[in-house]
């Protein structure tokens, strides 16, 4: 029984994935496992430890569970300012 989630990609992650977002069915136990799935599939250039992760527009923890319908963003190192 998986969850359907939408994943947002920004900056170098978007360039590597070749898309700004995708909706996937996942059975990953937590966000770390979900990132590992997509990292392999898209050959994403960052290990999880260099990223932050957000659910529905709030920063979240890597052990959080990908809830059905969630919007999940993997946040590469920022460079504003």
């Amino acid at each position: 029984m998986g969850s359907r989630v939408t994943i947002l990609y920004f900056a170098a992650l978007r360039d590597a994935a070749g898309m700004a977002s995708e909706t996937v069915e996942t059975s990953a136990a937590n966000l770390r496992a979900l990132y590992e799935e997509v990292q392999v599939r898209h050959q994403l250039p960052f290990p999880a430890r260099q990223l932050r992760v957000a659910i529905d527009g709030d920063f979240a923890g890597w052990e959080d569970v990908p809830r059905e319908g969630a919007e999940i963003a993997f946040i590469p190192p920022v460079s504003g300012g």
């Binding site: 947002l8 920004f10 900056a11 170098a12 360039d15 960052f46 260099q50 957000a54 527009g57 709030d58 920063f59 963003a73 946040i75 590469p76 190192p77 920022v78 460079s79 504003g80 300012g81």
Partner: protein, 139 residues
Amino acid sequence: MKRFTLSDTPFDTSALRADLLDDRVGGFASFEGWVRSHNADRAVLGLRYEAYAALAESEGEKIMAEAMGRFAIIDARCIHRTGDLAIGELAVWVGVTSAHRDAAFAACRYIIDEVKARVPIWKHERYTEGDAGWLHPQP
């Protein structure tokens, strides 16, 4: 009231400053980040900022609330550009008012440091040599 905003067009700093006028203010400190012609020894043609807008706005607002709580300031604003910028354009503006200058300087510094460290905005630079790339500094 919003203290942190994103803007996809050039913004007018005098309007932002006027928003902070208050006759209790003795000190006003501000910081502006401008697009430089060179970064890390490479000649830059222009750049683009991309944001995860929903999270950038909430995290930016959180930083402003932290500054209001930590420093004896009267008010503060920050605005950050997104989209395409040319050399010399304004990328970010921070303005802080206080009764005394110590707090205004400290809060202004805190805001720009935290915005650069925490707000999900990314810079994409185009170089004169024809290549381009995202900046993802490792902390």
